[in-house]
Symmetry: C2
Subunit: 321 residues, 2 copies
């Protein structure tokens, strides 16, 4: 199958359709009409087999995940996702593989009304780069640098699930996992981008980031760029029942602090805006937990244990200073 046939038969049917796309796949580039009065958000993430996901992950999950991690970046900026391009490098062109990949990509796109407008397919080791363009009313984007001392730190959903799910996803195919293992695997394979929550945080959150590298690492970006410290209470971290079922408390909290790939939103809100935050969460049916606060400082992230002592999270638990 040549590239044009492949695009026409296997890729284009999963592209989606938006009214603001004047010219999609098939010209030198796409032509789109941006919404008047909005700024644009531009994000791009690459996932490489054996680096960002295990070889065992089914193509439909690879496709879903490739778009979901970019949707999460748009969510973290409070935006509405619109147009994507896909640069797909594959070792060989298996129509069945690509059909499944695109079904997953298309499912993530359909859930958020994203249209795939272009891209490129090339031969090589499996590498998926997605660029996604979104929009946000002018001046209302959520950023990393706005946290202020006194703000409290919140996180959506639960943490540590994806890190616990990775080994399940990487296990050789056999009988599919069930119970907690199945839940954790899905959290890795098909993360939920918190797009509606991100939009709801406009005007409330002073900073926001998505948890991709791990909570402590990602809070470090907010702390450094906002020129303040962030103090997190390990006891307050939201843990899923599934995570608690397969790990003891120390290991679970360590995964919540340092495991990546959860794609939850972590954000700071001034106490005066907390009532509004709670109202918006209730309206959306979303859940978020207060896990710490912003303090004067020089960009450090400090984790406190249940007794209020600072700890360093290490594999399998904490290390005290």
């Amino acid at each position: 199958m040549d590239e044009f046939t492949l695009i026409e038969r296997l890729i284009a049917p999963h592209a989606g359709r938006r009214d603001d796309v004047l010219l999609g796949i098939g010209d030198d580039g796409a032509l789109v009409r941006p919404p008047p009065g909005e700024d644009l958000l531009v994000v791009a993430d690459t996932i490489v087999e054996a680096v960002h996901f295990p070889h065992e992950l089914p193509p439909s999950d690879v496709g879903y995940r490739a778009l979901a991690v970019n949707l999460s970046d748009i969510a973290a900026m409070g935006g509405t996702p619109r147009w994507a391009t896909l640069a797909l490098t594959m070792p060989v062109s298996h129509p069945e593989w690509l059909r499944a990949f695109m079904a997953g990509f298309g499912a993530a796109g359909a859930a958020h009304r994203v249209q795939l407008v272009g891209g490129d397919t090339t031969r090589g080791p499996l590498t998926v780069t997605v660029q996604l363009i979104g929009s946000v009313p002018a001046g209302q984007a959520l950023v990393r640098h706005g946290a202020r001392p006194g703000d409290r730190v919140w996180v959506s959903g639960t943490l540590g699930d994806a890190a616990a799910g990775l080994p399940v996803a990487a296990a050789a195919a056999g009988s599919p996992p069930s119970g907690p293992a199945s839940f954790l695997r899905e959290r890795f394979a098909r993360p939920t981008p918190r797009v509606a929550l991100g939009r709801a945080l406009r005007g409330l959150a002073t900073s926001c980031i998505d948890v991709s590298d791990g909570l402590v690492a990602d809070l470090g970006h907010i702390a450094r760029r906002s020129h303040c410290d962030i103090v997190v209470a390990a006891a307050s971290l939201p843990l899923s029942d599934a995570l608690r079922a397969v790990h003891d408390d120390g290991a679970a909290r360590e995964l919540a602090l340092t495991g990546g790939d959860d794609y939850e939103l972590c954000f700071t809100v001034p106490p005066a805006a907390e009532a509004s935050l709670r109202a918006r969460l209730a309206e959306l049916g979303e859940h978020a937990t207060c896990i710490g606060e912003v303090q004067e400082g020089s960009g450090q992230v400090v984790v406190l244990d249940a007794r209020g002592d600072p700890v360093i999270p290490v594999r399998g638990g904490y290390r005290h200073f």
Copy 2:
């Protein structure tokens, strides 16, 4: 060097600077302000080592070329390039390699006032994906589907040079090439995106494409999407002195017809607009040659030899039907 240091020290200094970028590299994504009343063009191209460029190509040329091929797509749509993202997959992180790569990328960007606003660096076989966003006044984009019978077919610059230059670029490093070989190598390594010409063709050209796969293949896209035939006179193809110096006439014309990578613009213009075209070319100091015409038909490209007989270009010359 970790990814953040690498981005800060080696990538960001070559990013460029535009006033319409509100937030560049360093947040979850970039925040940019689109020009009111303009549509956006979105293009993405991947180049893979040993597939699209030889291992011997110096990193500065790889960087230049990665952006230039995307600038050419924006040019082919009549747009003004604005914001780029770069997804760079490298086998190992050699600071010297990356510094040279970014110097080349930055040079192509500076020439067209493009700002690099984000992207991703990952580990793996050398693969470079650039996405570029440009803009065009609403409704004025050049497309592939507007050619009409009676229009004449034009091409900018000269053809076949890059295909002749590829083996020079692929030759093991030694004494640098000189004379015609040097010129042809540059045409492959550092193609010139015809951005100003593309803009000047707005309102004149009924269709436009850039020559990346080879003239016949690329004209085929216009012919099929415009539902007409295109007839090209092989004798009229513009050939450089350098190409003529290293290849006989048959081989040179075959490279001009089927060699890719020239990144010249190929476009159709109604006869009534030719005076305006010539005036705009003179104003810009750009050169274009009329090489054929659009006829009623079903999407074929026909090449005629000097006697007016249809031929099929083959390696080393033509084959008659």
